[in-house]
């Protein structure tokens, strides 16, 4: 979709919702340098949401939407859970079909878009919770990676089934007492980042969403690598403060505590060799582009 396509017909301008008018006037579609710093100054692709006050998932949503390199041609796929309460307020096309089949939906979607738009970039990004990604949907998560499907999978890891009230999930810590784990979870947190690497993902990151710059970087890397090379996987800690007994203001600290070097969400990154090469090329191009822009700005000033 080109940015021109979302221009509103003059005749209809008055009757369009103001929310939509704002989106057309000042959203960041088509902007090369979009990022989390646009939040609050440009029309955001997500503003209102119906998540709990202080929910880290809502922060993650904002950073991700602000960081997509190509939102005007990005389609997102969600799954059942708290994410499906937010997707209706996201201003990119998004699909919520069933619980756990998000990577299968994305496989079909990406292929259909490739058939229909050969030679054009259409990014697909999956965003689902740990229950959908690692439990009920694990088969489809892994098989999409085995097949080298060219899209990014993001797991909002809150270490339990949050939307249904805090039941045990595969990514829950061992020993955690939860509904359906009445004597504590009996096995270790599934090591999906390692499995993702072994399953063919070209870029894997495990981290929290406490730092917006970091989220922006990994989202951009993941989408660019998925577009050119193959599957990428991000596992982001978005604790469900409600279910782990924290207050609204404690989500950020919970993430900071969990990203210490010995903790579960210490920053972990894997990049395949072809992905490294691509990132280096992109960085070089970016440098050139910025230098050219700087030169143009200097010339303009001089004139």
């Amino acid at each position: 979709m080109s940015k021109e396509r979302i221009q509103i017909s003059e005749a209809l301008y008055d009757i369009m919702p103001s929310d939509y008018q704002d989106l057309v006037k000042s959203a960041t579609y088509g902007k090369d340098d979009r990022g989390w710093k646009d939040i609050g100054t440009s029309k955001e692709l997500i503003e209102q949401h119906s998540l709990c006050a202080g929910c880290p998932e809502s922060m993650a949503f904002r950073y991700i939407l602000a960081s997509l390199p190509n939102p005007e041609d990005t389609v997102m796929v969600g799954s059942t859970g708290c994410t499906s309460l937010v997707f209706p307020m996201v201003a990119v096309h998004n699909i919520h079909s069933l619980f756990g089949n998000q990577n299968a939906i994305a496989s079909g979607l990406k292929r259909a878009l490739s058939v229909r738009f050969p030679g054009r970039v259409k990014d697909v990004v999956v965003l689902a919770g740990d229950g959908a990604t690692v439990d009920i949907g694990l088969d489809m998560t892994l098989q999409a990676w085995f097949r080298q499907e060219k899209f990014t999978t993001i797991c909002f890891d809150n270490e339990l089934y949050a939307n249904t009230g805090g039941q045990e999930s595969g990514l829950m810590q061992k020993g955690f007492v939860a509904k359906m784990a009445p004597v504590g979870k009996l096995f270790d947190k599934v090591r999906l980042p390692e499995i993702a690497r072994e399953s063919g993902c070209h870029y894997v990151v495990n981290c929290t969403v406490s730092k917006p710059s970091l989220v922006e970087k990994v989202i951009r890397n993941a989408v660019h690598i998925a577009r050119e090379i193959g599957p990428t996987y991000l596992q982001l800690y978005t604790p469900c403060i409600l279910e782990i007994g924290k207050n609204s203001m404690e989500g950020l600290q919970e993430m900071r505590d969990s990203e210490k070097p010995t903790e579960r969400f210490a920053y972990k990154e894997y990049i395949s060799d072809p992905a490294k090469q691509l990132l280096a090329e992109l960085a070089a191009k970016d440098k050139e582009r910025k230098a050219a822009a700087k030169q143009l700005a200097a010339q303009a000033q001089a004139n």
Partner: protein, 403 residues
Amino acid sequence: MAETKSLIGTQNKKGQTYTDTWKMMNEAPRTPSFFTGSEVIKEALRRASCDVMIAYPITPQSEAAALIGELFAEGYIGDYFRGESEFAVMSQCAGSAFGGARVFTTTAGPGTMRAMENFPMWAGARLPIQMIVTCRGINSPLSIQPDTLEIAYLLNTGMLVWHAETAQDFFDWILKGYMVSEEPEVHLPLALCCDGFFVTHTKDVVNLTPADMCLPPYDPYRSPVPCMDMECPPVRMMRDPFVMKSNYISYATHASWQQEIWAAVERSRKHSIHWLNGLIDTENTDADIVIVASGTAVSQGREAIRLLEDEGVRCGLVKVKTLRPWPEEEIREATKNAKHIFVPEFNVTGWLAKEIRATVPNPHRVHAGPHVCGGMTMPPEIIVSEIKTALGMKTFSLAGRGS
């Protein structure tokens, strides 16, 4: 948005000419060919301008799914791959259809059941996917034999459900099926069923349309819901998501959407009549006895009628082509003279007889049977025997029936 001008008369990359479907199906010359049902599915797909086909092995549809892979290798299909399970395949089909592709897949028996959660989702999302169901047993103990029990489960998914009798039906209905299911006022998935093995693995003479003609491509922008490709402006779908909220608006929204899906099934009626030349076919429905059947039970009924004629018993026949939309008025009209209505079926529960009993006045006229199940064949003599027994006529015992 993509150009929407007609491509009819132009050629695709394989040199096939996009042809007006009505002309292709009704006026173009036909070539008799001796093919298995699976090969006929392949030949229909060759002419279907299909964007994506997703495959998974399960008997008896595996051969058709594999043959369509050959078409992909030849360049007739946009993309083709094997999914990891039927649930995944149907999800992948959904993803492709959400992205604006014309989608095809095949399934059978337990695979259809494994994928079942997807079918109401397809209908709810208004995805005009076409799925061939080559029926087989679904219950334990394991069976790969033809049995039509899974059709009963598909009837209330919101999909269109058609039941082909022959490979010729299959060839024609695959192509015509897209025309009905892609109508903007319909835009629903189609389960095109046949009795596995009887149709898929037997050879028959099938009259094929020219291989250098193909369907016009699917135009996803005629969909009544937005195509998920970011080619039309995105909107926030709802200011307040209705899912999972316990308030009256959520119920009302969902209820109205369900009603819209079933209204779309109803709106498919006129298009199905147009393309299939009616929802039912009839023969001699002025007779006192009428056999009503779908699928290959129709063929067996036809043979039974011939045998009964030899004994001086006159029988009519109703072939039910579409199960959804359900041809209620047509069946009432066709059976209005019948004193006895027999419904032979290849399943143990008699789902078709139940539908007919709920449709016709004086339902005591409906004899639910004979039933064969577990994949057994239905010799016409069994139908003859059932009819003669019900009429109080002397009938010879049939070996193996214990009668």
